[in-house]
Amino acid sequence: MLTVEEIESGTVIDHIRHGKGLRVLEILEIAAEYHSRVALVMNVPSNKMGRKDIVKVEGKLLNEKLMDKIALIAPDATVNLIQNSKVIEKRHVKLHSKLVGVVKCPNPKCITNTENIESVFIVEADKARCAFCERLFKSEELIE
């Protein structure tokens, strides 16, 4: 396997569905000007998943909203919190049944895009329905 340097403090997101690693970086808003070390490993062989992607980001911790966003495109992901080069916490992302203020409604005619209010989505299997305009979206469509 390709060796990637360990990170000292930050987050390792493992078990990302292959091909979704880049989207995870987008969700984390990692761009060219990011200040610390970032690794994306794609197509890593996995017993459970066949192939998977892994993302390692130095100096970034995930809040609940980011975890929810990642769960939308990578429902099997595990998030490892690293401090002093040690895993101090390991969590599975879990798609909550109700997402409040996590993602914007893609429907331009939805009132949530005009009024200053938080979006609300109710998760139905691999889709989510806007609680306002009632439109149903594939989970992936919700991540711009």
């Binding site: 409604c105 005619k109 009132i111 200053n116 806007c130 306002f132 305009c133 009632e134 439109r135």
Partner: protein, 303 residues
């Protein structure tokens, strides 16, 4: 009704709708009664987008019950134009009345109004999303004319892609166990996600065709195909002609078949059909008043 508001047909259970229909039967009998159970009530009809028919129907229902009406039409020219937010307008009106009826072009507006207002809110149309009292009128009409909705063969004909009426009606028909046939031109078919939801949620029978064959049909529900949906005006005209309801394509239909339409109609139904005993859309429109009376009474806790 589960909550204090009526926002979407999706919020209602079949039993609640049936209860509402029984109340509608009572309201229909007492349309011109002297008793005015809502004598001291004030109902606000807030139409951010104009719709004269719907507004009049709600106002007529309120008047029949003895309530006073505060009416704002085309609010976009008043407070909203001065920069007041939608939420502030609703909060203010909430203090002036006992029940709010709202129509707005943005989807989800009525749900937001219900979140903000303490008074009950009735959705009178939020963009392409929901118009629950229309769906109730449609279902009630079938129940009145056919005695039941369950196992009735209902054909929905026209633009099933963009017509809000049709999506909500399909949901309601599925809930009541009707057998639904969807008849639409290519490109204007019902959203597949809506069909599969109705099938899986209610184990409903839904089939799709583009053939204008109504031989097994008990209820023919027609809606307009707008020219604007087609890039090519020639194509638009051809499709409108093909999916028009005429004496000719009703020939094989059952004599007791009922034709419904949400109105206003333009030319999707030929004038000769208006005179046939099958055409029941003007009676259907009349049910708008007792249905809305029942909804208002229920939400104000008077029934």
């Amino acid at each position: 009704m589960g909550g204090k508001d009526l926002i979407s047909i999706r919020d209602l259970a079949r039993e609640e709708i049936e209860e509402l229909f029984e109340l509608t039967d009572k309201m229909d009998k007492r349309l011109a009664s002297d008793s005015k159970p809502l004598k001291n009530a004030v109902i606000a009809t807030l139409f951010f987008e104009p719709s004269t028919r719907t507004r009049f129907s709600f106002q007529s229902a309120a008047a029949r019950l003895g309530a006073d009406v505060l009416s704002l039409e085309d609010i976009s020219t008043t407070s909203a134009a001065k920069g007041e937010t939608f939420i502030d307008t609703i909060r203010t009106m909430d203090g002036y009345c006992d029940l709010i009826v709202i129509r707005h072009k943005l989807e989800g507006s009525a749900r937001l109004a219900a979140d903000v207002a303490e008074r009950p809110v009735v959705n009178a149309g939020d963009g392409g999303n929901q118009h629950p009292t229309q769906t109730l009128i449609d279902l009630y009409s079938i129940r009145r004319f056919k005695k039941r909705i369950e196992k009735t063969n209902v054909c929905l004909v026209g633009d099933l892609k963009y017509a809000r009426t049709m999506r909500s009606l399909l949901y309601g028909l599925g809930m009541f166990g009707a057998n639904v046939t969807l008849v639409s031109p290519k490109g204007l078919e019902m959203d597949k996600a809506v069909i599969s939801e109705v099938k899986s949620r209610f184990s409903a029978s839904v089939s799709e065709t583009n053939a204008m064959d109504f031989s097994d049909c008990d209820v023919l529900y027609v809606c307009r195909i707008q020219k604007e949906r087609f890039a090519d005006p020639y194509e638009a005209e051809k499709v409108q002609k093909e999916f028009r309801i005429t004496g000719e394509n009703l020939k094989g239909a059952k004599p007791e078949m009922v034709i419904l339409h949400p109105l206003p109609k333009i030319d999707e139904i030929a004038p000769e059909v208006d005179a046939s005993p099958n055409a029941r859309y003007f009676e259907q429109a009349k049910f708008g008043v007792p249905i809305r009376m029942a909804v208002i009474m229920k939400l104000l806790g008077k029934a």
